[in-house]
């Protein structure tokens, strides 16, 4: 609810179904407050569906679904395929020390374009059913927005959340 956003400095948009989240953002009257929060430089972290919501452009989405444009990237929904193609991967992440992060990509979006002012903190190499083996961004960041194609919380590694809280 909009009142609950008062005083918030860091906002996480989690996974789920981006189409359902879009509808509920509107019906809960959160779309404008969250848009304003992003435009005002508030720190945002979007994971999977959350990344889709924060992106500037969505491929294979519904025409009415929300793209807040908080970070200048293009994403393709379900870009790795259906659930049978969901996977875990070990990622080396810029700014995360120690062992690689083991993370879960679940019907995850693929980042197909990274705009100016956006850096890639980690990539994943994946054999796509069509298009062959490609290296694609898994984590991107801009000045105030962090996004990941995967769900860091599913595998219980909180180092990316720590990075979000400490460097944004």
């Amino acid at each position: 609810m909009p009142a609950e956003l008062k005083g918030v400095t860091h906002l996480v948009i989690p996974g789920g179904e981006s189409t359902a989240i879009s509808l509920l953002l509107r019906s809960s009257e959160l779309l404008k407050p969250v848009t304003d929060f992003a435009a005002g430089g508030g720190a945002l972290f979007g994971t999977c569906a959350g990344m889709i919501i924060l992106a500037s452009e969505i491929m294979d989405g519904r025409p009415d679904q929300v793209a807040l444009g908080a970070i200048d990237i293009t994403v393709r929904r379900n870009g790795f395929g259906r659930q049978v193609n969901s996977f875990e991967a070990d990622l080396r992440v810029d700014g995360v020390a120690g062992r690689p992060m083991t993370v879960a990509f679940i019907r995850a979006p693929v980042v197909t374009r990274v705009g100016p002012g956006v850096s890639v903190l980690a990539s994943v190499t994946y054999e796509f059913p069509t298009g062959g083996t490609q290296e694609v961004p898994a984590i991107c960041r801009s000045k105030n927005v962090l996004v990941s194609s995967f769900h860091p919380e599913v595998t219980g590694d909180d180092r990316l959340h720590k990075l979000f809280l400490e460097s944004f």
Binding site: D90, A104, T125
Partner: protein, 299 residues
């Protein structure tokens, strides 16, 4: 690229299978029998659809053997929507499950709503890459399914009745026993495992975490936004709604209202708002008038 930076990709792990269910939490999964219904469900904010040939109320009315849906129907529904598509296989019918896996459905429901194919064994779900959801009427049944590889449990309720009473009974039984196990000492846990006819390791895990090893959703008889909010307040993490939507007077409106109610299940003001003017609900059946108790299928 060096060995060190080449990421290892592993598919079909338990975490990946349970992970999709975790992403559906707080949402509504709707039974649909056509591509048009699937679109109505997606428009209303469903987090997934269950592709079926007949909703449970019609299976109940028509009788006969209920089987897996025609693959052409499943594919038509997959093409119509961008949200996950689930489909049902008969209890123990691992070949129907193999076919559904070949179709790349996102979840297979080994379901008591269809006519069981095996009276002794459920499907060995560990052998599949696609995750499975299974029904349960009590905690023992839930844990036996988890031990066979189910990545999601739904309380069974009594499908196709529009009557939530059985869903409430099953959910209270599962959640109630979980609460008791968290209070049990280490010796009592062995007694619980014996009483529940469930693996000790899973009982011990519940004692430690206070919840099932996989997400717990609710199904069977949900017909109104208030029903959905009721099962959410009782501890369900999401709802399956079958006949309740497309057997009602205004499916699109009711579907949307049930989605809102599942999201805002603790806010009675919103529940009152979304419950208004929904048209005729599914008629429903009282339990003593039910001929076939689907929940008794499976063990």
């Amino acid at each position: 690229m060096t060995e060190e930076t080449a990421p290892a990709v592993t598919k079909a792990t338990a975490r990946v299978k349970r992970g999709l269910a975790e992403m559906l939490r707080g949402g509504v999964i709707m039974d649909v029998v056509t591509a048009d219904q699937a679109k109505i469900a997606e428009d209303a904010g469903a987090v997934a659809v269950m592709a079926l040939e007949r909703v449970p109320a019609d299976i109940r009315r028509d009788g006969g053997v209920a089987r897996m849906s025609d693959p052409a129907l499943v594919e038509e529904i997959q093409a119509a929507v961008s949200i996950p598509v689930m489909a049902k296989a008969r209890i123990g019918h691992f070949v129907e499950a193999q076919i559904l896996e070949a179709l790349q459905v996102d979840y297979i429901d080994e379901s008591e709503v269809l006519t069981p194919a095996d009276e002794a064994y459920h499907i060995d779900k560990w052998r599949f890459s696609v995750p499975f959801v299974c029904g349960a009427t009590n905690l023992g049944e839930a844990l036996r399914r988890v031990s066979e590889g189910a990545a999601l449990i739904r309380s069974k309720g009594e499908a196709g009745t529009g009557n939530v009473v059985e869903a409430v009974r099953h959910l209270r039984s599962i959640v109630g026993d979980i609460k008791k196990i968290t209070q049990a000492d280490s010796a009592e846990l062995h007694g619980w495992a014996k009483e529940l006819r469930a693996p000790y390791e899973l009982v011990a895990e519940i004692a430690e975490t206070g919840k099932l090893p996989v997400p717990l959703f609710c199904a069977g008889g949900i017909a109104t936004p208030a029903d959905a909010a009721l099962v959410m307040q009782l501890g369900a993490e999401a709802c399956f709604v079958g006949s309740g939507i497309f057997k009602s007077g205004d499916p699109a409106k009711r579907a949307r209202a049930i989605v809102e109610a599942t999201t805002h299940y603790q806010d009675a003001t919103i529940l009152a708002k979304v419950s208004r003017n929904l048209g005729v609900p599914m008629v429903g059946i009282e339990m003593d008038k039910v001929d076939v108790h689907l929940a008794e299928r499976g063990w």
